[in-house]
Amino acid sequence: MDTSAVQASQQLLEVRDLQAYFYLHEGTVRAVDGVSFDVCCGRTLGVIGESGCGKSVTAQAILRLVPEPPGRIVGGHIWLHPPETDAGPGAAVDIAALDSTGDEIRAIRWKEIAMIFQEPMTSFSPIHTVGDQITEAMLIHLPQMTRQETRDRAIELLDSVGIPKADQLVDAYSYQLSGGMRQRAMIAMALSCGPRLLIADEPTTALDVTIEAQILALLKELKSRLQMAMMYISHDLAVISEVSDDVMVMYLGVVVETASAITVFDRPLHPYTQALRRSIPTLEGEITRLTPIAGTLPRPYATHAGCRFYSRCESRMEGECDRTPPELIEVAPGHKVRCHKYVSA
């Protein structure tokens, strides 16, 4: 990895102690409970965790898409840093403090931060053309462009993501496209206003493996060409390791480990990450059994006295791990773990 590039990149998004809870009538779900991370310009942050760990809610919170009843951002900050100009760094905006229906957040949406979703079929409106949905955002955020210009740009975008006959398909409806093409169209739509950060919420989970590979290749190419920061969310460690520069592992609403992608894959420290790593079947060697992670996720309304991973941890220390929750500690430069094992005396 080019270390000079690492040093040169500055913070684009700074999330500190984000807490997002859902107040349901069966109980309160602490979906995101004190999550902090940085996304730097031009770098990709991979977010990995099981379903229910809060990774999607984190992504939604960044764009204030969390449905306000029953959800709510209860605490924390989401600092969006403006691009550096000759005049020097501008003031950062705390997205968490904005009004979720106000003008400021709507100016940020899509223009600064865009998102692609898991289900391309249902994420497009079935009764509007693909082109219409791509140009829509441009018409809102780039008022200096004429309708014709936005349409031309839409065709250009569709072409750049690898959709053939873009000038015809721009007038197609989403159900007329195949799954892979729909996802490409969604990527084109996301790029339409030139965002500095692209959040990808499990974009390939609903696609089959060969298409998944194509989409990943496309994303990597776009990332390097456009120098765009990306936040890639998945439950698939293999995919994450391929696409990310840095990785953040989440479990039940908290970050349990962050490190560079290589480190997480080669030298995971947190028992959960290690278990995830072990559960990936490899093509090398002989495997007689798969190694799943023991146990199941606890109920979402449960509160935990100690470490949240206690019930499934192989290295759990009774008396300590079930009493006090561990803190997120930097054990090596750029590598943080939340585990009592690594708390030095």
């Binding site: 023991a294 146990g295 019930s311 499934r312």
Partner: protein, 397 residues
């Protein structure tokens, strides 16, 4: 099969049933690695439905009120102070009797009424009724009155309330000819409430039978059912009922008319239900569990009744409940128009038929009270049915 085999198989059958009943309520779940002891409570489909239903406050209240209504209808003669055909011509068109709680000197007394006398207005020839305050007649409970047979079995002459001395307690007033509206409303509830039940039972059987065949067998029967359903939806219900009632000759006795009307009313309902049944069967037929049943060698009939039907029984019941108001309204509308039941039969529709001339009854608003009762009953059934439907299928699948 030898007798021993029969005995043995029925014994195993019984024992498995008893086992299931016992274990079904509380059982220990399988232990998996790392699992703490968890006890499982197996809730049947009906348990789940009841729990969800309980959350629907409106539906619960409606259900309770409906039970009260039906009880009133069953014990009608007891609750009615007077007979449905007892006429008090000298007090015809009397307004509802005022029940007093205070004597003239202001003291609180048990409820009582006064005798009324008719006064004729010289100018308009309208009757009005004045209370003669000389004697107070207290309302008594469990009074003696017209004899009847409670539930058709027990001879008695006790009524829920009334007065000594035969002074009228007409809670809803008297109609044009002097019949007690309260008594007739209570009595008429029988027809209105039960004709719909009978109709619903008929609808249920026809609907399941035809819908089941269409859904499971498919082919011509199914196609035919689709077309019939479409046709019936094109013809508006009430005009169709009107036309159908025209088929019944006027000369028929009322009881016969009653039965044919019930069949007519259920006719309107069964096609809809058959289509629902068919739709459900069609979609469930493709499910894996149906396939599994087929593979294990179950006959088609068994698959339908034992495997598929229980899956949507709850929806069926909800749909049926929701079709009751339509039947009540059908009978009421037809009788109101004079095309259904008619005097001397007593139903709410027959009672409302007297109100056709609005201007004539403009100063007798109490004659519209049966309309309020129809409204209330229909609303109660709607709330109740809606609650059932939500409980059966909260996600509207």
């Amino acid at each position: 099969m030898s007798a021993n085999r029969v005995l043995a198989s029925s014994r195993t059958f019984l024992s498995t049933w008893i086992e299931r009943l016992r274990a079904g309520r509380k059982g220990a779940g399988p232990e998996t690695e790392g699992d703490r002891d968890e006890e499982f409570y197996y809730a049947s489909q009906w348990d789940l439905m009841w729990w969800r239903f309980r959350q629907h406050k409106f539906a619960l209240v409606s259900a309770a009120l409906l039970i009260v209504l039906y009880l009133v209808a069953i014990f009608a003669e007891f609750i009615m102070p007077y007979g449905a055909w007892d006429r008090v011509s000298e007090a015809a068109q009397a307004p509802p009797t005022r029940i007093h709680f205070r004597s003239p000197d202001g003291a609180l007394r048990r409820p009582f009424v006064y005798r009324v006398a008719r006064k004729v207005d010289r100018a308009t020839y309208r009757w009005s009724y004045v209370e003669s305050e000389d004697k107070a007649y207290p309302i008594r409970f469990f009074t003696r009155g017209r004899p009847y047979k409670l539930l058709g079995l027990i001879s008695t002459d006790r009524h829920l309330f009334g007065t000594d001395g035969g002074v009228g307690v007409w809670l809803f007033g008297l109609d044009l000819l002097g019949y007690d509206i309260f008594s007739r409303t209570v009595f008429g509830a029988r027809i209105s409430l039960f004709i719909s039940l009978v109709g619903v039972i008929l609808t249920f059987f026809f609907g399941i039978l035809i819908g089941g065949i269409a859904g499971y067998a498919g082919g011509l029967v199914d196609w035919g059912l689709e077309r019939v359903g479409e046709l019936l939806r094109t013809i508006p219900t009430l005009p169709l009922l009107v036309m159908l009632s025209g088929v019944i000759p006027k000369s028929w006795p009322i009881v016969q008319t009653y039965f044919v009307m019930t069949i007519i009313l259920s006719f309107v309902g069964w096609v809809g239900l058959a289509r629902v049944v068919r739709g459900r069967l069609l979609s469930m037929r493709e499910e894996d569990f149906a396939l599994a049943a087929q593979v294990t060698g179950c006959s088609n009939l068994r698959i339908i009744f034992r495997h598929l039907l229980p899956g949507f029984m709850s929806h069926l019941i909800a749909s049926l409940t929701l079709s009751i108001p339509a039947m009540i309204l059908g009978e009421t509308s037809l009788s109101y128009l004079g095309l259904g039941l008619y005097r001397p039969a007593v139903s709410w529709g027959v009672m409302l038929a007297d109100t056709r001339d609005i201007q004539a009854i403009a100063h007798l608003p109490w004659m519209l009270i049966p309309a309020v009762w129809v409204l209330v009953t229909v609303l109660l059934f709607n709330f109740f049915g809606d609650g059932l439907r939500d409980a059966a299928d909260p996600h509207r699948m």
